[in-house]
């Protein structure tokens, strides 16, 4: 009896402490998710009651809305080009900084700075202007003989502008890589050096395998966040997703459907498809990771 009372008391205390999360989770995540699931099968414009239309939203998405298919294509391009480039850059800089120099702290700060300010409207405005027809990027391209690029006329170039902005913010992946590199003992490299392994061999045989769990973590987190990118596309295209829908990332199209055209049902259906895509991508990354991620000590994770 006494024992049961303590157990109950423990439960009550525990739930008292986590109650903000429990309430918030129900009110701002779980219940909204159910509402969103329901709305995805309806036609709803916020002003009149939702009208049940079954799978029509989903059917329309994949058969009757070229703009949607285009936004899917643009987003996949953005994710599959941007994320690997960003991670490669992050790893390259992290390796560059992983030595005994006293200036490392300063360099780390400088290379991380873009990531700190990267999500702001100010930086998107800046990006818009350095890529303008008279901007410094075109000046540089002309100087090295590559000629001016019409960043705001060509949809692919415009997407490239978004990708460079995302690569520019490699800082948080870099910090995580740097912390991982510090955990690799120098003796490993010394031993490999004695055995005659060159820098390339050491990179592929020591650095990459030992870093692979961290690469996986970065890959998953960056893929998810890249898939949800909104602010740069919204600001750089002034909310239009142009030119010719070249910067119409998924989140931007969803935003426009929901809040410019009041197609709340359609936007909810889009959100669920996005959730499923992100879920599948994460699952695939985890599944494939068995073949390339190396865990130094089993059960270390």
């Amino acid at each position: 009896m006494l024992k049961r009372n303590t157990a109950l008391r423990n439960d009550l205390t525990g739930y008292a402490f986590i109650s903000p999360f429990v309430i918030g989770f129900l009110a701002f995540t779980l219940i909204p998710m159910f509402i969103s699931l329901y709305l995805s099968f309806t036609s709803y414009n916020l002003f009149s009651a939702p009208r049940w239309i079954g799978l029509d939203n989903f059917v329309k998405m994949f058969t009757g809305d070229p703009k949607y298919m285009n936004s899917l294509r643009v987003t996949f391009l953005y994710v599959f080009v941007g994320v690997p480039l960003r991670l490669m850059f992050a790893l390259f800089i992290a390796m560059l900084l992983n030595n005994g120099s006293r200036l490392i702290g300063t360099y780390r700060t400088l290379f991380y700075l873009p990531s700190i300010i990267g999500g702001s409207v100010a930086v998107s405005i800046m990006w818009r202007n350095i890529f303008g027809s008279e901007g410094i990027v075109n000046s540089a391209l002309i100087a090295i003989g590559l000629g001016p690029v019409s960043w705001f006329g060509d949809p692919n170039a415009a997407l490239g502008m978004l990708v460079t902005l995302s690569v520019w913010q490699f800082g948080s992946s870099m910090l995580i890589f740097l912390a991982g590199l510090k955990n690799i003992s120098p003796e490993m490299y010394e031993a490999a050096g004695v055995d005659g392994a060159g820098p390339a061999r050491r990179f592929f045989r020591i650095t990459l395998p030992l870093l692979s769990p961290i690469i996986l973590f970065n890959l998953i987190m960056q893929t998810i966040s890249a898939f949800m990118t909104f602010v740069p596309a919204y600001i750089i295209s002034k909310g239009e997703g142009g030119p010719m829908d070249g910067t119409m990332l998924y989140s931007l199209y969803l935003f426009r459907q929901a809040f410019m055209f009041n197609n709340m049902g359609y936007a909810s259906a889009m959100a669920w498809v996005m959730l499923i895509i992100v879920g599948i991508m994460t699952a695939v990354l985890f599944f494939v990771s068995k073949y390339w991620v190396f865990y130094e000590s089993e059960g270390g994770r």
Binding site: A7, D11, T13, G14, Y15, F17, I18, P20, F21, G24, F25, T29, P32, M33, I35, S36, L39, I93, L96, S101, L103, F111, L113, P114, I116, I117, G119, S120, V121, A122, I125, M126, W127, R128, I130, E134, I136, S139, L175, I176, G180, M221, I224, M228, F230, V231, Y234, I235, K238, Y250, L254, A258, M264, S268, A271, W272, M274, L275, V278, T282
Partner: protein, 279 residues
Amino acid sequence: MAWKTIKWPVYHLFAIALAVLMLYPVLWMLMSSFKESRLIFVTAESLLPDKWVWSNYADGWKGTAGYPFMTYIWNSLVIVVLSTIGAVLSSSLIAFGFARLSFRGRNLWFALMMVTLMLPHDVVLVPQYVIFTKLGWLNSIAPIVVPQFFGIPFFIFLMVQFIRTIPRELDEAATIDGCGKLRLYARIILPLLRSSLATAAIFSFYWRWEDLLGPVLYLNSPDKYTVSMALKMFLDSESTSNWGAMFAMSIVSLVPVIALFFAFQKHIVQGMATSGLKG
């Protein structure tokens, strides 16, 4: 042998060149904000202004849409401060519960929290908007601020990781001295958690200060607009080609972010690195 002596100079030269290349856009915007508006793109190739002018700052400071820029800064600060207090306080309470108390269903709730951490926000965007509309919260800061008082998964995770490194002997000693759980949290754990609280507060500041989607969705009248919204308004009226004022206020909006970064970079770097590694 020659390589040994030039290795470090070459290294530093390369690192500095790369850093300059990366930060050049920011420098360019900073310098452009001191150029006359009409000259910004005419002299885009030269970094330094021929003549330094402050008029862009004076211009921008006058604001847009009939309100001085200070109004937008004030609106942003109100949101940031309330949100940060709410996020940090609630997250630390929740983290204490997860890290130190044992109760039935704890692992389930912790798992749900981790799932929420990865959940694409877009899924709840529309229903949240519908709910907040029905509650009559449109055109107020409530939809932006109130959810912050229910814990932020990233912060909870960060703090749980930190609390787990605090020796449990401290808790036991305090409990023997008759300390209840709430006092244990307030008197023992919270003071030790200072660095995590600071990290969470800084990230919260960044996210709310830079937030655009929240204000775009929920604030409709310019007197309530935040700095991000003010910059967006500058951009929307860009055709008037007053780039100078837009750049100047962009720089102003970045000043608190960069200042905070330099003041607390140790917290930020550690927060990023540990949360990442233990993920």
